[in-house]
């Protein structure tokens, strides 16, 4: 048993050594995954042809509020295109900047502010995505939720329909469907 004891102490000291190793720079894997979700949405949602001015007009993913993705969203869409529309990322500083985009990721905590943004794009074919509480019930179309350490999605189908967006049944099957809460 002396040998085992030795081995365990060896293990202990090694793990302590390992624990001291420097962590790498901060980037969240959570948002890496969400960035890929955003990219994948382009395959599962149909935008009306009218949402593009010309056949080679870019497909715009907009970010409203603080950008949580770092460079990751850019890396994800680099070189990608959707039926000839190159994918581009635009970051909007203020509500007034928000204009023609196809997906709008809203990273704002304040409910009232979210409402302003949603109102601004209301009726336009813009897929609104967010991950704050009640985002979908408030009228946002897709909300990311973290459940048991995994990313799930919640879809407000009615809101998407009103914006003339068709969400594939394949995506719907994986999502929880909610309705806008009138209030």
């Amino acid at each position: 048993m002396k040998l085992s004891l030795f081995i365990f102490w060896l293990v202990l000291s090694l793990t302590l050594f390992a624990a001291r190793q420097e962590p790498q720079p901060e980037t969240s894997k959570e948002y890496q995954i969400k960035a890929v979700f955003l990219f994948n949405f382009t395959h599962f949602v149909e935008w009306p042809a009218a949402s593009f001015h010309e056949p080679t007009a870019p497909f715009v993913i907009g970010i409203m509020g603080r950008d949580p993705f770092g460079s990751y969203l850019d890396e994800t869409v680099r070189g990608e295109n959707l039926q000839g529309h190159p994918l581009v990322i635009r970051r909007f500083k203020s509500l007034d900047d928000v204009d023609a985009c196809h997906i709008l990721f809203i990273n704002i905590a304040d409910k009232e502010e979210i409402k302003h943004v949603l109102d601004k794009v209301k009726g336009k074919p813009v897929l609104t995505v967010g991950d704050v509480n009640n985002f979908a019930r408030q009228g946002g179309m897709i909300r990311f939720i973290t459940e048991s350490n995994r990313t799930r999605i919640r879809i407000n189908l009615e809101a998407a329909k009103q914006a003339d967006l068709t969400i594939s049944s394949k995506l719907l099957k994986l999502a929880e469907i909610v309705e806008t809460q009138s209030k």
Binding site: M1, S4, T15, A18, P23, Q24, Q32, I33, T76, R150
Partner: protein, 686 residues
Amino acid sequence: MIRQQHCLLLNRAPLFRLVRLVLTVILSIMLMPYDAFCQSQDLLPVDTLKKLSMEELMNLEVISVSKRFEKLAEAASAIQVITKEDIQRSGATSIPEALRLATNLQVAQKNAHDWAISARGFNTDLANKLLVLIDGRTVYTPLFSGVFWDRQDYLLEDIDRIEVISGPGSTLWGANAVNGVINIITKKASDTQGLYIEAGGGTLLNDFIGLRYGASLSPDISLRVYGKYFDRHDAVFPDGTDASDSWRMGQGGFRMDAKPSAKNTFTFQGDYYNGKVNLSTGGNSDVYGSNVLGRWSHAFSDHSEMTFQLYYDRASLTQDVPESRTEDNSIVLAPAGTLKDDLDTYDFNLQHNVGIGKSNRVVWGLGYRYTHDVVENAPGLAFSPNRLDRNLFSVFVQDEIKLMKSLLFTLGTKIEHNDYTGFEYEPSTRLQWNVTSKQTLWSSVSRAVRMPSRIDRHVRLPTPGFSPIVDNLLIGGANFRSETVIAYELGYRAQLGSKVTGSIATFYNEYDDVRSTSLSPPDPVYGLQFPLFYENNLEGETYGFELNITYQVFDSWRLRGGYTLLKEDIRVRPGKTDFNNALNETADPKNQFSLQSSLNIFKNLELNAGLRFVDSFQFNTSGVADTVSNYAELNVKLAWMPIKKMEISITGQNLLHNHHAEYVISKPNPSAEIERSVYIKVAYRL
């Protein structure tokens, strides 16, 4: 075997001390302050993430550390994953039936309750080159290094996935992963919340019921308990008469998962089962056992995670052994009797994944397994010694080195020490080239060993009725060594467009010291050459490939096809002999083909079908080859969901023949065949 009614731990002081030591160490580590939570996360390659389906993305742990190590390793091996959806859609009623979905396995049903399952051949009656794990617990038996498939069960609804890796996995996975690894992973308790009930019955599966309830004890702790029972009808003999081999079994268990902090996860689980099998040869067999397992994973940082695992498993068997006679029936060699076996296994495992610098990922680990086996011998089947304690120590280290952005080189070895043959080395190297984000080319060379099992060294087929002329028909070989393989693999995995994924794995295996049966020198009076005994006089090569293609025809229709080619040349080493003429180790079809279709007719109506073709193959009857004919068989499941939480289904299995043979055990006794069958099932998820 003598059933030990009292506490085994107290009986074995050294073991008790070891367990206590382990617990002390774990406790002391737990008490150390590791509270500096670290925000940074391991970044995954963007191309890898983009390759994943939405389901797979949803299954990614947002905060994870070491899973990725496994994922990368898997990409460069002949792995096929049977998902929970595959299992549900197939209508499988047992783990072996679910394993038919992995086209890189050979699966043959022997009778109503037993299967022969192997990868890359050697699917003999006592198939012994596969490592099978259920949630990290090894389930092959050291009696013969094979698996008693009639005692491996679970509520299929709660199985998350089954990973099937063909080819040696010894470096990482450990003992007995000579030709492949089957890794059965159940869902986390947090994924099985609420009530689930299933019940049904049919022509072969007379009736079955399954029940599970899952609840959250706190936001961080989830628990489930389950129970199930089934009763299976007899298979038939070739002439259609009952084979008297019915099988019924009950099983229950629990699993608790806790994640008190982002850096610690705990799992505690256990199962108990009790089954009764009728035997075609007469009498019956009681199979019962239980296990408990605890696992703790701790993330020191994003680049360093350690997992400790402890389990205890008890497997018991009480089996009637028929009378044995000479071929002309004139002499009773041994009267009928009962064999009892109680096997206790204590296993400790530690694994540490750690990233060193930017281009090295090291995985290393330690393992210790102690088995205590007690056999109560039958007159015609015995083990000598009947009581045996065995120790297995193992240590492994593997480094994955990023040579270039898309080129990974993996080098590692496992060193094991067992009580039969001492030290064994199982090294492997692997090269993975990510040609593009959607294509991977990989190659590997590895060595694996199958250590001796009880049967190789200690089995006896006594013949008291013929004593003293012959005392035993067969005995284990006192000098039986480990069987070895050196495997060369080359594989390619690709996503072709958005609808097709495919993989091909080719292999060339060189075997040495494979088990053979030798004759004793003739006795001076009668010239009889008994007892037969085991030696290692076989050698040879096997080669072939496994092809697998998935085609998503429409959103609602998926096809999956598989083809496996296996060629074997196992022969007696020059100058040596084998009583079985090198026929006893290979009972494998050269060609296997399968096609599975999953179709959603409407949103609430699913039609699934699985067609399989298995080539004819040769098996051994005392040194002469006989043939099992080729066959094609079809399973179909139609499922209707009248409401979201309820599924009513009808499943037809083996629909193309009244009955067909998949395996033959011993001539001249007839072997059981598998009948066409139908069952109905109602499942309700609350």
